[in-house]
C-alpha cells in the first residue's frame, strides 16, 4: 500500500458520519491520514474539497475528493477489493438493495429523529422526536432479526454497511442517555440491538475509531446550548 498521503480523511472525532467512514478504512486495512477538523474554523483543504456542503467527512484519494458518508463508504468498498479484503456491501444484488434500504432508513428516518431530541427548541417538539425515535428503533430491532439471520451483525458474521450506518450512531445514543436519561437502545425494549451494540463496540475497528462517550457529551452540551441561545434570541 502506498504512502499515507495517498488517502486523507477529514473528519471530527464525534461525527457519526466520519466515524462510519473511518471504520470502513480500518476494516479494509488501508493506510490513511486522519485529519481532525475544527468546524468553527474550517481548513482551506476542507472547504476546497467539499465546496457544496463544506462539511466532514471528506475522503481525499490521490487528490480526488469524495463526499457524503454513505457515498464514501461505498467508494471505499468498491475500490479496495481483493483476496482477504472484507466486503462492506454484499455481493448479491437483492441483499445489496436490502442493505441500502436500511442504511437509508437509518440516515433519513432514525438519525433526524434522534438528533432532534437534542436539537429541537421546545419540549413539545422533543416529545414528538422521542416518539419518532422510538418507532424507528423498533423497526430497526425487527430489521436486525431479518437481516442478521441469527448471526452477530446485520451483515452476518462481521460488520457491514447497515452495521456501520447504525453503529456509528451508538456514541450519540449513549450521549443522549447521559444528557436526558432516555434509553433508545435497551436490553428490555430492544434486546437484540442491545446485544448487537455491545458486539459492535468490541470490534477492532470500533475500538480504534470510536472516541469516549465523554467527548460526544461535551459536544452535545455545546450544541444544546447553541439551540437554547438561538431559541431565546428568537423569542425576544
Amino acid at each position: 500500500m502506498a504512502a499515507k498521503e495517498y488517502l486523507k480523511l477529514l473528519g471530527i472525532d464525534v461525527s457519526p458520519f466520519a466515524i462510519g467512514v473511518h471504520m470502513a478504512l480500518v476494516m479494509k486495512g488501508v493506510n490513511y491520514e486522519y485529519i481532525a477538523e475544527d468546524l468553527s474554523n474550517k481548513s482551506e483543504l476542507l472547504v476546497s474539497s467539499n465546496p457544496v456542503h463544506k462539511n466532514v467527512p471528506v475522503l481525499i484519494h490521490s487528490g480526488n475528493p469524495i463526499c457524503e458518508s454513505l457515498v464514501i463508504v461505498q467508494y471505499v468498498d468498491e475500490f479496495f477489493t481483493g483476496a482477504g479484503v472484507p466486503s462492506i456491501l454484499p455481493a448479491d444484488p437483492y441483499e445489496r438493495a436490502i442493505a441500502r434500504f436500511w442504511a437509508a432508513y437509518v440516515d433519513d428516518k432514525f438519525f433526524p429523529a434522534m438528533a432532534g431530541i437534542v436539537l429541537v427548541p421546545t419540549e413539545q417538539k422533543r416529545v414528538q422526536k422521542v416518539k419518532e425515535t422510538s418507532a424507528a428503533i423498533e423497526l430497526l430491532e425487527e430489521a436486525f432479526t431479518v437481516c442478521s439471520k441469527g448471526k452477530a451483525f446485520f451483515s452476518g458474521d462481521s460488520i457491514g454497511y447497515v452495521d456501520l450506518a447504525l453503529g456509528s450512531l451508538l456514541i450519540w445514543i449513549e450521549t443522549i442517555r447521559r444528557m436526558c436519561g432516555l434509553e433508545i437502545i435497551s436490553a428490555s425494549k430492544t434486546p437484540r440491538l442491545a446485544a448487537w451494540a455491545e458486539r459492535f463496540g468490541e470490534t477492532a475497528a470500533a475500538k480504534k475509531v470510536v472516541p469516549e462517550a465523554d467527548q460526544a457529551l461535551q459536544y452535545g452540551k455545546k450544541l444544546q446550548a447553541a439551540v437554547s441561545a438561538a431559541a431565546t434570541s428568537k423569542s425576544k
Partner: protein, 236 residues
Amino acid sequence: MAGGNGELKLLGMWASPFVTRAKLALHIKGLPYEYVEEDLGNKSALFLSSNPVHKTVPVLIHNGKPICESSVIVQYIDDAFPGVGTPLLPADPYERAVARFWAAYIEDKVVTSWAPVFRVKTDEERDEAARQTLAAVEVLEGALKECSGGKGAFFGGDSVGYVDVLLGGLVSWLKANEPLTGTKLIDATKTPLLAAWMERFCELDVAKAVLQDVDAVVEYAMALRVRLAASSAANN
C-alpha cells in the same frame, strides 16, 4: 445470471415522480415488467405487505421479492441486470461516487426543499421553499457542467445515467411548478444547461413513453392542494 428470467412487477401511482424514476430505469434497460396502478386511498394487500415500512410507491417486485425506495430500486435494476441494456452507473469507482454524490444532493437538497411547496399553507412558507429549491437547482447547473464535462449531453456523459434518471423522474413536476406556484424552477435564462438538458431528456423515446402529461400533473396537484386545505380546515 443475476437477473434471470424472473417476473418484474412495479407497483406505482401514475403521478408519482419516484415511480417515474423506476419506469425510466426499466425502459432504459429494456426490461419488460407488469405495471400495477395502486389506489393509495385503498391500498392493496400486496402493496402493504411489500412495503410495510413506508407504505409508499414505487415498489419493485422481482421474482416475488420486494425492493423499495426509488434510488435503491434504480440501483437494483442496474445491479441485477448487468449485461442488459446500458449501465446506469459508470464502471469507475470515483465516477460512481460523483454520481452518487449528486443523487444524494437531489434527494437531500432539491426534493426535500421542494416537496413542502405543495403542502405548506402560507405564501411565506411557499416562497421560502421555492427560494431554497431554486438555490439547489443552481448548484445542479454547476454539477451538470462538471459531469457532462463538455463530453456529452447528460449527467451520465453521452448517454443517460443514474443522475439523469433520478432527476428525469421529476421532470413533469418541474414543469408543473410554474403553473402551480408561479415559480419556474428550470429557467433557461438562469440555468441554461439544465434547461437544455430537460429538452434533450424529453426528446428521448423512454421519456416520451414514460413521463406524465404536465397538465394532468397540474390538475392532480391542484386537487391534492384542495383536499389538504379541506382536511386541515376540518381539523381546526
